[in-house]
Amino acid sequence: MYQSFVGLEIHIQLLTQTKVFCNCRANFGDEPNTNVCPVCMGYPGVLPTLNEQAIEMAYTVARALNCDLNPECVFDRKNYFYPDLPKNYQISQFHEPLGRNGYIDLEFHKKKKRIRIHEIHLEEDAGKMIHAGDMSLLDYNRAGTPLLEIVTEPDLEIGEEAEVLLQELRRMVRYLGVCDGNMEQGSMRCDANVSVNTRGAGLGSKVEIKNLNSSRFVRKALSFEIERQQEILERGGTITQETRLWNENRDLTESMRTKESAHDYRYFPEPDLPHFRTSDEFLTRVESRLVELPAARRARFVADYGVTAAQAEFLCDEKSTADYFEAAIAAGAEAETVATWLAGDVRKQLNRHGVELTDSPLTPTRLAELLSLLAAGTIHGKIAKQVLALVFDEDKDPRVIITEQGWEQITDPAEIRAVVDRVLADNPKALGQIQSGDGKPMGFLVGQIMKATNGRAEPRVVQQVLSQAVSVSTIEVYSFGGAIAGHRQEDGLVVPGDLMSLTSLFERDPELPEGIRFEELQLGQFLSEEITPADWATLITRTATSLDRGSSRGIVVGHGTDTLSYTSSLLYWFFADTAVPIVLTASTVPTEAGIRSDAVENLRASVRTAAGEDRGIHVVYGRDDFFALNLKFERSGFTAVPRDSEDAPVADSEGFYAGQFRNWNADGLQRAGRAVAPTGRTMEPAALTQAMEVAIARSHIVKAYPGMRGETLIAIMDAGVKYFVLEIYDTGTANLRESPFSLRRAFAHARDRGVLFFCTSQQEGVVDFSEYVTAHALWREGAIPMGRLTTESAWTRLIAAQVEATAAGDTADDAAFTDRVLSLMED
């Protein structure tokens, strides 16, 4: 096993008005050689003068990175000849960097780490040389702009961590307003030092990698380089100490120069600049520049506003977004709702219009207004989205739009009651049907009421008022295939069918509350193994509509046993925030004429749960009310046979069969929580089907087994799979020992292509990569531990996450999409 050590040298360009040692504008994008003067052009006789703003910013960063601050800011000359360096020495800091012994805290794939900062120093940038044909062109606009170099200790292990560090540092300097953090444009640059050695043997030979102008390249180059060095060591070779360049076109590092030809920079104290002493007044100014940094703000958002870590990360990525979020809350909006809307529908509008949040017509006040109108029931969800779109199109206040469009809902129960009474009077037949126990006409009546109010009646109030008027409440029952809805043919084979009529079944069930009516819906006739993405889309759309309307007291879904764990967890990821119980159930034996089936008992129990108060997703089977996540259908060897056969499963006296499900890692599971795809569930059915089909096609479940070949996984990736759920052993181990059966090459291949591995356990282990060297190695390879989640639950979350990312419009580039998916996969 090998160990890798990675340290970064990060240069950030400080956003000062003028250059660090002269009064030229620090604006290097201008017409070449326009922001220059004798000083920054290195004319004979000129002297540097220190820009105090640059020092102040530099100390601010050092302070933010928890460094010991040097009481004196002292400069040295770093000597090297290069045409773009006007003086052929760079004024820098060598002997006495302004900051030392700092740190930055990171988290990558659940592993928290403190990365030590070795030092921070201030220096001047060089100009830019471009070779054009047989000419070399020089632009000195950048020469002399202030550059802050941050050097970390070799505390990082893998490329992904380096990427996370750069992203966090980028956020930090943007928060502090000292740098725009743009790596593509070079205002933030990074060199990396890598050494790989046998575990426990300490640092190996250091290789420096240059030309890393995006955090993605840093990750890729480091992954490549660690892999390259590891292979050399495996072959018994030695690593040459050298400088290598990242070739972004070929995705590899290439040797640039070896140590022998390394520069001797001949540092010595800069005689033209006296020591700058940091006065109390100066340090006070530095303190006043500090703002709440991203990490602290994320923690506060989670603690104070109750948002999830993933939401906090999204909200705090840009200071402006975090400020916006808090402004909306100050304007009276509810935190969780703001977070959901910002990450979903608002983001979708921003993507569509190509504007930044802070430049958009949607001010925090307008968003708060929209959400409060929604919360007050003035408008319902669908209208709210239309209003949002119009705010972007017309730049008006939500209230104005609602008035103009005549979208204000009728929420006054008395007003609605009048309409309800009229409709009931007009439809005596439907009323009679309902009162005789058939809930079906409820939908028809709602439709009539909506029609009578031009769609302006608030659906929930309509539902309430109507329920009161007819003294019933509705439970929706969806038939979603499986044995529970099937029946046995003459030849003994079970074929798909419809659920039995519950109306007749529970006509006079003493255990049900009074006035329950059923609205039964046929969503699919199939056996559970035949479920398609379109079926799931139908189920989700229907559930979303029902919940949005608030039209039922609970929902029951009849399902087959085989894939129940998929559908139940999928419903959890889409609807964990449901206000009413959603109950899935199944049966072992189909209903048959004359034979008592567990279908009846399970349905009865489900209906009771659905009529109850325990909101969330339930799986009712036998006597048990299981959690929707981590469901395992565990009993094997069961064949459906007529009950009178000797092999038939034995039902107890009340007709329940022994529980055949179990929740893995049940501790800490919940029935209700946050939905992963609150935006995704509102998609049109066709779009949702499409999104699910794509998501499922991109995702693949693999179970590790002895002798599994990495090549197989590579072939699957090459077939277009982007995300794996990899079921491994125990708390997360797999074979990484160099052999045809090692997965390492597959992981390397995956990292090159941005393919992700989400790891679950075959053995009810909580995957956290904590215990074994091989498990840590998996973490190093970039695998993502899914904790307590089972394969099925992890996989459905992956589908939900992709649907959500698609719905929010994050499809423009692969990397952004994957980032979004990743954040939705984390708690």
């Binding site: 052009m41 006789g45 002297l47 003086k87 052929n88 020495y89 001949r266 033209d272 006296p274």
Partner: protein
């Protein structure tokens, strides 16, 4: 007198300069009168400006100090064609005080030499004997003053570059306290050692020129304000005790004789003259050359032919261009010091050379601090010999360096030092050096003023003042 000439007789004066400079060739460039003065922006200097003297005379400037519109060659092929786009801070201050800048004087290439013979752009000779050198590196400025072409010339002093040529040519040469005159516009050779200073034939002119230049400058962060009490001319009794450096100083007989006579003259003037020694003296030259070469190796790195300066006819690529430019355009002495400086700064060797030199520098400074607790000023020779002949036979480059120990002391200690002309020996001038603690320039002027009453400045026979020249040419009339 000079203000009349500068307003009414500029063309004639220009002619005088061209004609009279011929035997010594102290100028690299004599400006046409319109070039002499330039409009200066409204007074933006500090409150000191009110008390600044007017300096309404013509000034020649060493060619390593920037004067807008003039060349800034530093005596090097490298910068032969460079015209300065700006004024040095000292020049700006003098313009405010009424000075006019008539031309640029020759010098050792980038200030590296003691003879002005390392100049790549011309040979300057000593007005007392044109077979001999004017000293260096500010040899052109010293010769121009001795030749009576200008009353005052600016020079720069890194290790004696003002004082040694002043001694060779028999004029005053002031190396001020480090930082009292802004270095902005002085082409850097050894930044931590050098200063802009004044050469002149009249101590009052020298003093006024210095007073007009001194003071903190925002463009040079190493510049310092002269403390208030040191701004005023020194009282008659400000200097009581003068230490005279003793021991085997390795002086030529003539210089030794003159040195003794000068000490005696000071005693006669009523000063308490006491013998002192400096134990650090023998370390001055190695420490000085180590630091100067190290800084020079970085300071001269900017000359690479890319943005300005000498550029080869053809180069394959920018790197090659830099290599060729430097190879072609630097002289041997400059290359020697760059290589030496690069050597002492190598990683792994710094402790042995550069850092050790800095430690020695600290010791020298401490010893001088201690001496100035005992005496007000120190008298020493400026240079162990009088002006030597052109060419290597008289004194080779190494001997010249070793001879810098009296002058180098003041640069390492950052203190002011003034060469005063102390008469002739064998028909050639000799100059002695007075050193004082930081900011003691006014005391130096005071003592020099009194010494002038017994050892007045004399000019070489071949020289003519402008008035004499005008009378001789029968053109004097109107002025």
């Amino acid at each position: 007198m000079w203000d009349r000439i500068l307003s009414d007789a500029r063309d004639e004066y220009a002619r005088f300069l061209r004609e009279q400079d011929a035997p010594t060739a102290s100028f690299l460039e004599i400006g046409a009168p319109p070039q002499w003065s330039a409009p200066v922006s409204a007074e933006h200097d500090d409150a000191l400006s009110a008390s600044r003297p007017s300096v309404t005379f013509p000034i020649a400037v060493k060619d390593n100090i920037a004067v807008k519109g003039y060349h800034l060659s530093c005596g090097s092929r490298m910068l032969q064609d460079l015209v300065s786009p700006y004024d040095a801070a000292a020049v700006t201050r003098l313009r405010h005080a009424g000075a006019q800048f008539v031309g640029k004087t020759n010098m050792d290439e980038f200030g590296m030499g003691s003879s002005t013979d390392t100049s790549a752009l011309g040979r300057t000779s000593n007005p007392w004997d044109t077979e001999r050198v004017a000293g260096g590196s500010s040899g052109g400025s010293a010769a121009a003053v001795a030749q009576q072409l200008v009353p005052v010339a600016l020079g720069s002093d890194t290790g004696g570059s003002i004082r040694q040529p002043a001694a060779f040519c028999g004029v005053y040469g002031l190396k001020p306290t480090y930082g009292t005159v802004s270095r902005y516009g002085l082409v850097a050779y050894a930044s931590s050692l050098e200063v802009v200073g004044v050469l002149g034939s009249d101590i009052d002119h020298v003093a006024d020129t210095y007073r007009a230049m001194r003071g903190e400058d925002a463009q040079d962060h190493t510049s310092v304000a002269v403390p208030g009490e040191a701004l005023q001319p020194a009282a008659a009794d400000a200097v009581k005790t003068i230490g005279v450096l003793q021991g085997d100083l390795g002086l030529d007989e003539s210089v030794a004789r003159n040195y003794a006579a000068t000490a005696e003259a000071l005693r006669d003037l009523g000063y308490n003259v006491v013998p002192i020694d400096l134990s650090t003296l023998e370390y001055v030259v190695p420490a000085y050359y180590t630091i100067a070469a190290a800084e020079a190796s970085a300071n001269l790195a900017r000359f690479n032919g890319v943005r300005y300066g000498h550029r080869p006819v053809f180069s394959e690529n920018p790197e090659e261009l830099m290599r060729q430019a430097r190879s072609e355009a630097f002289g041997d002495e400059v290359k020697l010091r760059i290589v030496l400086g690069t050597y002492v700064l190598r990683s792994g060797f710094q402790d042995q050379y550069y850092t050790r030199a800095q430690k020695i520098r600290t010791l020298i400074r401490r010893e001088l601090d201690a001496r100035f607790g005992e005496v007000d000023l120190i008298l020493s020779p400026t240079f162990p010999v009088q002006a030597f002949r052109h060419g290597d036979q008289a004194m080779d480059a190494f001997q010249q360096k070793v001879a810098d120990r009296f002058t180098g002391t003041a640069n390492l200690a950052a203190i002011p030092a003034l060469t005063v002309p102390s008469g002739l020996e064998g028909g050639l001038p000799v100059g002695m050096q007075l050193m004082g603690p930081a900011f003691s320039e006014e005391k130096l002027f005071a003592v020099a003023g009194r010494l002038a009453t017994v050892q007045p400045v004399v000019f070489p026979d071949g020289s003519r003042s402008f008035d004499e020249w005008r009378t001789a040419n029968g053109a004097g009339g109107g002025a």
